[in-house]
Assembly symmetry: D2
Homo-oligomer: 284 residues x 4
């Protein structure tokens, strides 16, 4: 099966970037299967993502990276060149609401998520059976209200041990400590069960019901220290009416959350999400 | 052409309301063409709306109202019985953004809005031509930053003179004075250009662009004294991405605003919207 | 926990139906928690569904049915009175595409589908592990191209043995024999992977890709003898573009199929779907 | 105000196209503000669209075209280089249903459609007033059932006289003769009031109501000789239920038609739609 190199770049916008990069790729025989660019006219920043058939380039990724480095320097690029053969290692974290976990496990099994699932970490035992049935390690790390530090030290240890590239908070209902947020900056993904910035914080569906909105939503975003305020990757909504109780909202919300998190994670794993300050460029 | 009586009721929920009301209607030969009920289980309140073929009832609306009054008293109903032959008188108010006005005028011409348009009031002269082309009176009431009171006294006079049943703020960019809000409580409809409660206040599309949301929206709501906080009638959204500038958001937003305001107003005119505290029951 | 009686009626439209039925319910002390009506003005037919708190009625469902029968006769009703304590027995059938099955199992576990799953029947062995992990019987009934009759005799036997009230074709890729269609008329639900009536028959996503449509869809419908032509319960769509290959369409389609089938089945189990010729009334 | 050159290319896919073209643009100092590419892997065809700040290139479009021609030849490109200062001349055609016309006139006035409207042609007199109020010429060309040839000769004459670049059938309910379809291939846009390929031909909303679908739609497509079968540019849908009569479907449909046609036309005018056999690549 074919594999691909993905070149992802962000840099100050100026003349000739595309020419220089595409010359470089063509010069190495690279066959481009997908190309995306974006110029942020306000901020004067340029973003690009190229997907290149690996076999068309006669060299391993390390060599290609080395060859590209001078161009990257010249244009002051923030960049990465990834090889789809090197699958990301993802740690999933979950509490009692399991719809996102079940959904991600199905998609992973079906080949929709190109990654290894290093382990599932939960503050509850509930999902051990199903997770292990999928052949995945389950780590139970209880979180005590009066000693969260111990729990998060253990989480950190497990994440390290797992060599995680990415952490997914699939309805993990504990607030991550700043150190972990910092360490996984741009690599820790959360699903929030509201259409942010509406109803940040706790019990958003009850807040939404209280306000009488006609649409509820969910938001997939990168985690930052400030709660529910990180760069948004994806959002979606579901229509509701006066007929619906808070528990109907919760039920509809589950479907939106699953879909939004799955899209966000897939895009992240495919290097389609570029962070730009507190916003994202998504080459979906 | 057939006309209809509409009986709209809200009352404390208890046994036998539907039986009593439907007996009453059947007893007068009333042929029901549409019926809706809602029990708010939390608040213990009951809502209903019946559409009755007027010709099937052998009496004018006044007589039917008189006959119904004892039942209404017994069940402590807030209620109204309207006759579709008595068209509501609507005053449209608009500033510089004219998409909602143009849209409402088209729908009114096409027979989608069952009302008379008493007049259009604007703080600008721009739309006089198009409005008068439709045979509708145009009232220019300039609003001076240092003397809004005079302007709103004139607005009030015009609204009175027009015998308005309903005022529509079709992107009227002035804050209505409390007295007018109070007087048209439940009969003054605004379109806000965001998915409330996100981005209340000024320049919501710029706020949305700043936050990097992936969906923008619009909200049609009844006006209350508290800005952008009244009961929501309808909302909808449009997908956006990193490609889109604030002016793209404004452009997409126009389409959402038009659609949401038109649906909200139509439902209001058809007596489909029942206010319930700071929320609405919409029998759409 | 509260249980409910559901009274579902369709009959020729005439004066006084609602009055008569609501009197009957009120006369037995019945507390109505949800009520829906629809008059089909073209066909002159009336549909209604009442949800009644069982404890408010001082009698078992059999007695209530007996008491209601004379009214039903008088108005020539097609009707049913169900008790939510008597859970439907559902048989799920599946072939190689398992997303709908996995989704329904999750929803069932989460309490979104109020039914017993009598068994899963498949023409493949693949899903035995997951199904049995859920504590559900798995029946493997291979279908040989040159002897389908034997297979369907076995299917019929298993369905009988299971006392199935409802059969769900959750991407079961065999055409059901007329006798089974006939027997489960209005109780056999299929998910078709296109926005019917477009692209009936085989490989609809490839047909859609070939035609260059900008939206793909899925359709949940009751099975009738004529392939993909039965009464439609629910449909939904997903946006696609020139970027997407047929396999992307298949992937997007899985999400739409899951959602549409789950909604359709839930509504069916809640007695919200009334068949009207080749169409449905859905009190959702 | 800035203007732009747009380079739109389709050619057999092979190595180095992007490099060659972006080198060419950079070599002329061209500042790229938007770039899109698509490789059709099945058909082996490549599509690209570049938007270039005109002032950054030190030459008029004719000179740039001449300089580019050798590259175009070498890569066997179908291509165009347009200048946004040269506005397209659009002829709108309409019959009795006027919602699309009114909508396009508003958008044109609001600056959403970058074109000149050469004239409106109709087989009815109804819209003369509104069209002329916008300062646009109105041409009434009655179509007699027994002599369509005369009418279409006149349409052809008017279109020629108007030097039309593009013809929009904004609910023009006559079938265009093959000669006109041929002549405006890829430049004549129709709005069909169904979600094609469902319900091609006459009275699609009635067909949809008859079939009991739960979503209705509209399709914007290029006109070809075969009725309702040309390349699809855009589609969208609106949810309906058993409550809705055919005339409700018509009303909802108007909103979908307006939106879909406006998007399709805008994309066409911005050179975002590339025809690929009977499909389109839309760089929206």
């Amino acid at each position: 099966m074919s594999h691909y190199y993905r070149l992802v770049v962000s840099c100050p916008d100026r003349l000739g970037i595309v020419a220089r990069v595409s010359n470089f790729i063509a010069g190495h025989g690279g066959s481009i299967t997908e190309a995306s660019q974006h110029s942020d006219l306000e901020g004067g920043r340029f973003f690009m993502r190229y997907e290149i058939l690996a076999d068309s380039v006669g060299m391993p990724p390390e060599a290609l990276r080395e060859a590209f480095a001078p161009i990257a320097d010249e244009f002051e690029m923030t960049w990465a060149l990834t090889d789809t053969r090197q699958r990301r290692r993802v740690v999933l974290m979950v509490s009692r609401e399991t719809h996102c976990l079940v959904d991600l496990l199905y998609r992973w099994t079906a080949g929709e998520l190109d990654c290894d699932i290093a382990c599932v970490i939960s503050n509850h035992e509930d999902m051990r059976g199903l997770v292990e049935w999928h052949g995945i390690t389950y780590q139970h790390v209880p979180v005590k209200a009066d000693d969260k530090a111990t729990a998060f030290a253990e989480v950190q240890r497990l994440v390290d041990e797992a060599h995680a590239d990415c952490v997914v908070l699939a309805r993990y209902m504990q607030i991550m400590p700043p150190a972990l947020c910092e360490r996984f900056q741009g690599r820790m993904i959360n699903i929030h069960h509201s259409f942010l910035p509406s109803f940040a914080g706790a019990r958003p569906y009850h807040q939404a019901h209280q306000r009488g909105v006609k649409l509820i939503g969910a938001t997939c975003h990168y985690v930052t220290e400030e709660l529910d305020a990180g760069p948004i990757i994806e959002q979606d909504i579901h229509r509701v009416s006066h007929c619906h109780t808070p528990s109907d909202l919760v039920r509809f919300g589950r479907d939106v959350e699953k879909a939004v998190l799955a899209r966000g994670l897939r895009w992240h794993l495919e290097d389609r999400v570029l962070i730009h300050g507190n916003k994202t460029v998504v080459f979906a």
